[in-house]
């Protein structure tokens, strides 16, 4: 088990390193001038631009820049934002927890909902319930997450006034009690998290249904039924176990979806997270911020894969013995 984990960890580190190298090259080799990113800089004199470039070391050859960046990275320094003139690490430290809250909530909610719907469909395979839920999951699986966000915003925010439409906190509650503030954040969280979760829950449900249907056709299920076990036990204890491993893997692989979704959904709901930072940085050509966001995304994706692999290996001894 330890050898397995160590191999997977080494691969995770290598893939994060690859993400950083590729993003660095992609961003720095792109045509265009980062110091001309925003409107006020369009009128800067060449002199000022040259000084700015020298300040950030952009006048050096690319390999030199990369070695400097890598050296700083090893020491844990992510550089300074060209635009905000703040350390990148403090920008990320502010945004990352918000995205983890949003993405984590959405992941848990979508897993619970998806597994429940998929299990119900498999238990009532080819019934009317199965067909109706199948149609619903197909539609949610096919909805663009940003459009779903806009529609939820329109209905529950604007028409019904049930939930706040933007941001993460209400200004009026700045001095409220800790509980009141937590509830306020939770209320702001509902719509963006629901947008992300509904789409991914449909993906989980579709997957869980077919995995369970396949598992229910197995010999071990026939044996369990022949023993006279109640159908409920057969489904929840015997069939679900066999179908769980692929779903855990899928949950681990869903991290990129939540990252992509956060770029789209955070901008709709004004959620101050990593997706917003990435979006702003890309349009402003804020190299250090873009590379750092890619680094953090790479770490999250690798961590998701790693955790899923370890969880599957814990659940299924055959996986550990492979290779």
């Amino acid at each position: 088990m330890l050898g397995f984990a160590a191999r997977r960890l080494a691969f995770a580190v290598a893939s994060v390193a690859a993400v950083v190298v590729i993003t660095f090259l992609l961003v720095h080799a792109a045509p265009g001038e980062p110091m001309l990113g925003t409107a006020d800089r369009t009128f800067a004199s060449p002199d000022v631009i040259a000084r700015q470039r020298a300040l950030f070391g952009l006048d050096r050859p690319l390999p030199v820049q990369f070695i400097r960046y890598a050296g700083n990275l090893v020491r844990g320094e992510l550089g300074t934002s060209f635009v905000l003139h703040r350390p990148v690490s403090s920008i990320l430290a502010e945004a990352l927890p918000h995205t983890l809250l949003l993405g984590g909530t959405a992941l848990v909610a979508s897993l619970l909902l998806g597994l429940a719907v998929g299990a119900l469909q498999a238990a009532r395979h080819r019934s009317r319930t199965d067909t109706l839920l199948g149609a619903a999951t197909l539609v949610f699986y096919s909805v663009p997450v940003f459009w779903l966000g806009l529609m939820l915003l329109l209905v529950f925010g604007e028409q019904l006034h049930w939930l706040p439409v933007s941001g993460m906190r209400s200004a009026a509650l700045e001095d409220g009690s800790a509980l009141a503030r937590a509830l306020d954040v939770a209320r702001h969280l509902v719509l963006p998290a629901a947008s992300l979760a509904l789409v991914q829950a449909a993906a989980f449900a579709r997957f869980q249904r077919s995995a369970l249907v396949e598992s229910l056709a197995g010999e071990h299920i026939r044996a369990a039924r022949a023993k006279g076990l109640p159908e409920r036990t057969v489904l929840l204890k015997h069939a679900l176990r066999g179908a769980l491993a692929p779903t855990i893997t899928l949950a681990g692989l869903s991290v990129p979806y939540f990252l992509a979704g956060s770029v789209l959904v955070e901008s709709i709901f004004g959620w101050p997270g990593l997706g917003r930072v990435a979006y702003d940085a890309i349009f402003a050509r804020d190299y250090n911020v873009i590379t750092a966001v890619a680094l953090v995304s790479g770490v999250l994706v690798a961590a998701g894969n790693l955790l899923a692999d370890v969880a599957v290996a814990l659940a299924d001894p055959r996986v550990r013995l492979e290779r």
Partner: protein, 280 residues
């Protein structure tokens, strides 16, 4: 009956799949014929009076903030989605099948090198790379969007094809063909490709919907194909700013997106069940 005929028959008996395929056909027709019967998607007939008017007899889906007809823009936007979705899926599958074949047939070292590379590529945050690439380009033709999406989307297919090739390589009929002197391109074309084709077609057809959603997301962010060329994504972006006062602007392209992706997913599910009929 050949396995292809059997699959076609199973597809034909699957009502949902046939509906999906018919919808795809209708969408292609609508995107081709639509511009003949609707007003110019770029025309602004009366910039003041027609500014985001609700649906009426003259403008069935209403007009957008720039007084343009939402129906004709929706029909016109179908082209970008369909071309990019289908084109990128086909290109990605071709790339993936090529790499998978090479990895499966070449020696152990090439195989290891290619598959480690694919593992790393699968760990890349695709959206960040796509954003970074498209943000630096000023004008982006649909073909470029298609190519970049395909170039970042073939990794999973190469794994599927490699796995299929590895198991086929040991199959009796391949060993027999080799013993009879077959090799190289002939072996690949006559003996391997027909068996690899089914999983590849299924994975491509299930990918079309996801690519359409990805392209829409990029257009929505203002990247990808740029305005004034209508895409469903940039139409929703236009509708976002007037969401509360003129919801129809975002409603039409959004519904078109859902309908299109549902159609492709129905057809894709049908193809999967037709080629692999163990459970459904």
């Amino acid at each position: 009956m050949s396995p292809w005929r059997a699959a076609a028959r199973r597809f034909g008996r699957n009502r949902a799949a046939v509906v999906g395929a018919a919808l795809v056909g209708a969408l292609v027709l609508a995107s081709l014929l639509g511009p003949l019967v609707t007003p110019d998607p770029l025309a602004q007939p009366d910039p003041v009076r027609l500014q985001d008017r609700p649906p009426s007899a003259a403008h069935l889906f209403g007009t957008d903030p720039y007084s343009r007809d939402v129906l004709s823009r929706t029909l016109s936007g179908a082209r970008v989605s369909l071309v990019v979705g289908v084109g990128a899926a086909l290109l990605a599958v071709t790339l993936g099948a090529g790499v998978g074949l090479v990895a499966g047939l070449a020696g152990r070292r090439t195989d290891q090198l290619l598959m480690r590379g694919v593992d790393v590529a699968l760990a890349l945050p695709r959206i960040i790379l796509l954003l970074a690439v498209f943000a630096v380009w000023e004008r982006v033709p649909p073909v470029a969007v298609l190519c970049v999406i395909a170039a970042t989307g073939w990794f999973q297919t190469s794994r599927i094809v490699r796995a299929a090739v590895l198991s086929l390589r040991e199959a009796d009929f391949v060993v027999a063909a080799r013993a009879l002197g077959a090799g190289g391109a002939g072996l690949v074309r006559r003996h391997l490709l027909p068996h690899v084709a089914a999983p590849v077609i299924v994975s491509a057809s299930l990918d079309v919907g996801n690519i359409i959603l990805l392209e829409a997301g990029l257009s929505y962010l203002g990247l990808g194909v740029r305005p004034p060329t209508p895409t469903w994504g940039n139409m929703i972006m236009d509708g976002k700013d007037v969401l509360f006062s003129a919801p129809w602007v975002a409603l039409a392209p959004g519904c078109a997106l859902v309908l299109t992706v549902v159609a492709f997913n129905l057809a894709g599910d049908g193809l999967r069940d037709a080629f692999d009929p163990k459970v459904a």
